[in-house]
Amino acid sequence: MCLLKVAALSVSKSGHALLDKLSMQVRTGEIHVIIGPNGAGKSTLINTLAGDTSHYSGAIELANKNLKDACDQRPRLLATLPQMSLLNFPYSVKDVVALGRTPHDTGLTIDARVVSEVMEAMDIIELAEAKYTQLSGGEKQRTQLARVLAQIWRKEDAPQRLLLLDEPFSALDIGHQQALIQTIERFASTGVAVLLVVHDMNIAAKLAHNIIVLSQGRVAARGKPAEVLKTDILKDVFNADLRVVSHPDTEQPFVML
């Protein structure tokens, strides 16, 4: 079932096109990864889909409704992790995660269960009472991830759910990267559509059902990891001297500098 339909989406800021006629469709259970160089429009896409701006042309349909009309239900089916967090108040980790339940009135018992489940998934149980402001960068990122997951954790709250993540792996160590990959895959298998921006192309290769390469606001390439992660495409888009080989075990593409 098609959860997100984007048709000819263009966003411009002071005459400069950030996104140019982008179209895409995301079905339930699918994981779409967006890669691209700095300033390609990746975060603009995420923010526009999250409803941060109404200044765009083209059509965005979320669960068969125009994004602009679906304001009331949106918080229950769409959760977004922004690239940066501005939180500088000494909430406990648990309080931050519990804020993800703000759109729901499911009651204290269910909320507490969701909070403990997502904290376990993000490996922050031990940090539950720690002050957010005293965490390391990776711990903060895992806390914010847990908050975003808590927002759309339960199938019962909304049958169709979309998760937008802007560089969720950027501050994580390799162990937590792997754990997050598994969490996202498990989450997607419960019917959640996931759209995420990633810089590490090997994570993209491992995680994505579908990769979109953005460059200067346009789609430079799209398709399955094996179709997109090719030496000539990536060299061209990123202007980097790299090589794509085959992973010795999985035969997935593996990008080396």
Binding site: N47, A50, G51, D52, D72, R74, P75, R76, L78, A79, T80, P82, S85, L86, L87, N88, F89, P90, Y91, S92, D95, V96, L99, G100, T102, P103, L108, K131, Y132, T133, Q134, R147, Q151
Partner: protein
């Protein structure tokens, strides 16, 4: 587990209520004429000592109650201001409310000194201060509103600009004022509760009660707002509505307290800040506790102001600054323990 937390919260509030009551009663005993504690209590139900009863019931009780309400208003306003601006050091005076009120009061002192008719038992100076505060907030809100909604940083900066404008107006008024006006203006700016009457108490109390009863439905929104504006929007918070409501109560709370007690420094900044360090930033706990702590701080300060140089009374704003600044500095030096950078 939940039950034990409820019991704990209940006991904390009970202990707090008893403590507050003790402080209120104690503050009645101190002043230019010391009244023994036994007579303080008996003044309420039997008129054994008419002089003491008059002092307690007509002078000290309204003053103590007003001090408590004004302190509560200032601290609660400070708490929601810090939440709205996502800045633990924000203060209502930062958005120019206090400066606007001060300019309004100065205008009345200089130009309408001879008009002494009271409005609802308030002096004209108080009305001037309240109007000054309201005009400032409206002005700032209009200037900082753009097509994308109210920008918080634009509001802070506008507040600073308006503060300068209002202080230059006050300065000009001080320049053309005569000696008596000048003294009146500077005393008003230092804050004082000496004109307290029951009409003042009723005004402050009703604003305070309305604020603490009507604001709680916005606490979840304020909690989410601390994450950042777009994060709060993603969580389904109607940001513009919340901003409007919070700014309305901010103006009303600060405007009322400035009108009734003049400029009382530091309570709005220091109390919520200190309370947040102790109980965390969740507004359900922070706002009511700040209100109680602010009330207690102002009652204690006023008691000191009345007794330190008795029979002369010091302006209460001097005392709050004197208590507030060292506490604030000591909290800042230990900020890492409380999760501040």
């Amino acid at each position: 587990m939940t039950k034990s937390i409820h019991t704990k919260a209940y006991l904390t509030w009970l202990a707090l209520a008893v403590g507050v009551l003790c402080i209120l009663v104690l503050s009645l005993a101190f002043g230019a004429v010391p009244v023994p504690l036994s007579e303080v209590l008996s003044a309420f139900y039997q008129q054994s000592n008419p002089q003491a009863s008059t002092v307690i019931l007509e002078l000290r009780l309204p003053r103590t109650l007003l001090a408590f309400c004004v302190g509560a208003l200032l601290a609660a306003s400070g708490a929601i201001a810090q939440g709205l601006f996502r800045n633990p050091l924000a203060d209502p005076s930062l958005i120019g409310v206090a400066a606007g009120a001060s300019a309004g009061a100065s205008l009345v002192i200089v130009f309408l000194m001879d008009w002494q008719w009271p409005v609802f038992g308030l002096s004209l100076v108080s009305v001037g201060a309240f109007v000054g505060a309201l005009i400032t907030v409206l002005l700032i809100y209009r200037i900082a509103s753009g097509p994308m909604g109210v920008s918080v940083s634009a509001m802070l900066l506008t507040g600073i600009a308006i503060s300068f404008l209002a202080s230059s107006l006050s300065g000009f008024l001080a320049f053309i004022a005569d000696n008596e006006m000048l003294r009146h203006m500077s005393l008003w700016r230092m804050g004082g509760l000496d004109s307290a009457g029951y009409s003042h108490v009723w005004i402050a109390l009703s604003v305070c009660v309305c604020m603490l009863l009507l604001l709680p439905r916005y606490y979840p929104a304020l909690n989410a707002l601390l994450l950042g504006e777009s994060e709060a929007r993603h969580l389904g918070i109607n940001i513009q509505h919340v901003k409007f409501v919070v700014i309305f109560w901010l103006a009303l709370g600060v405007g009322t307290s400035v009108a009734l007690a003049g400029m009382v420094a530091f309570v709005g900044l220091i109390v919520p800040h200190a309370v947040r360090m102790l109980v965390g930033p969740r507004h359900e706990v922070l706002v009511p506790l700040s209100a109680v702590a602010g009330g207690v701080l102002l009652v204690l300060s006023d008691t000191l102001a009345r007794t330190l140089m008795a029979p002369t009374e010091l302006p209460v704003g001097l005392i709050t600054a004197l208590i507030g600044a060292p506490v604030f500095i000591s909290l800042l030096t230990r900020r890492h323990q409380y999760g501040m950078q």
